[in-house]
Amino acid sequence: MDIRERIAKRVAKEFKDGDIVNLGIGLPTLVANYIEDDIEVIFQSENGFVKMGPAPSTDAVDPDIVNAGGLPVTVLPGAAFFDSAVSFGIIRGGHVDATVLGALQVDEVGNLANWMIPGKMVPGMGGAMDLVVGAKKVILAMEHTAKGRPKILRECTLPLTAKKEVNLIVTEMGVFEITPGGMILREIAPDATVEQIKAVTEADFIVADPLKMMEE
């Protein structure tokens, strides 16, 4: 299993039956492929619907239905469409159980930076700031480092998406929970050691005891 699949598969275990989940573009999108068969997770697309389904076959594309990345998707039975004011009312109003996003940087108190690199990349925050503030649980699905450099920092240096909103970080090396008492390494990947993780993590973290093996 490659790194991205491992991360997506582990994130998928966070959900329970009936949860309403918003997946960011990129790696987070893969999470939908690993939901257990015995639960129903309702995916929200912030451009205006719930019960998003998989991508259609190329001959069944409906140009009126795209996901938040602009790609063709389908809707499942029981879906509902709405406008952007309602969609972000759902998001900001705490009706989304979890959002899964990528990160440029995250720090040990749960600050997140994932929308711009000054002077380099200014795509805009889109719906990310509302999602991170509004969702009940904020899960980061991200590779542990960027070109070998730590992304889990003592303090974010890039412009923030939101302050102290991140709850869980899932990387290919392990699972961290952000708590008021500090960041805790809860699970470790079978092919990683705590020392290896410390070497590529700038933030301080507590190692849970017992430290669970990250499920694959």
Partner: protein, 217 residues
């Protein structure tokens, strides 16, 4: 009473320097024929309020590429490299607004509210220059309403009284923008008789719509 007009007549209402709201998410729900009309007419220095600038050859992206936009209020410009390039070269003045805040500011503009308090953006650059209020111990930003001279809307079905029904994910910013501009022009993908849209399922009541143009199906 509700006026069906030609594309030329619609374009007669657009002038240099106007503030124009255009809906659409990556082009989905954008009135492409009206956008093409603006490109053809060549009005300049537009202030555009939209959620994204799509791609260079799609939706609002076309106005960017054609150099017709002076100021842009949007939540995301990353899918259209031209917007970022022109911003960096000082050709377009871009204000980035979180998508939910943008939607709510437009809604407030149409609903007569003086503003609203949102937790989105607290502790980020978004709070710069904004009043911060504490309610029940929680920090909020005071965000102000947005209105426009013209809103260009895309209706999947539009009747002769201007009632609109939107299909699937095309609804996005259409409903709220239709409430927040002095003049509202809708591009009808399908023109239908009054009554074909169940009054219960009308998504934009015709009272908001000034003019209707037939678009391409």
């Amino acid at each position: 009473m509700k006026k069906f007009i030609s594309m030329d007549e619609a374009m007669d209402m657009l002038h240099d320097g106007m503030t124009v709201m255009i809906p659409g998410f990556m082009g989905v729900g954008t009135p492409e024929a009206l956008v093409d009309g603006i490109v053809k007419k060549g009005v300049k220095d537009l202030h555009i309020i939209c959620t994204d600038t799509a791609r260079p050859n799609i939706g609002i992206g076309k106005l960017i590429v054609n150099g017709q936009v002076k100021k842009l209020f949007a939540s995301h410009i990353g899918t259209n490299p031209e917007t970022g390039r022109m911003m960096n070269e000082g050709l377009v003045d871009v204000t980035l607004i979180p998508q939910g805040t943008l939607a709510e500011r437009i809604r407030a503009g149409g609903a007569g509210l003086g503003g609203f308090l949102t937790p989105t953006g607290v502790g980020t650059v978004v709070e710069e220059g904004k009043q911060k209020l504490v309610v029940d111990g929680k920090d909020y930003l005071l965000e102000l309403p947005l209105t426009a001279d013209v809103a260009l809307i895309r209706g999947s079905k539009v009747d002769r009284k201007g009632n609109i029904w939107y299909n699937a994910a095309t609804r996005n910013f259409n409903t709220i923008m239709a409430t927040a501009a002095k003049t509202v022009i809708v591009e009808a993908i399908e023109l239908v008789e009054v009554g074909e849209i169940d009054p219960n399922n009308v998504m934009t009541p015709g009272i908001f719509v000034d003019y209707v143009v037939k678009g391409d199906a």
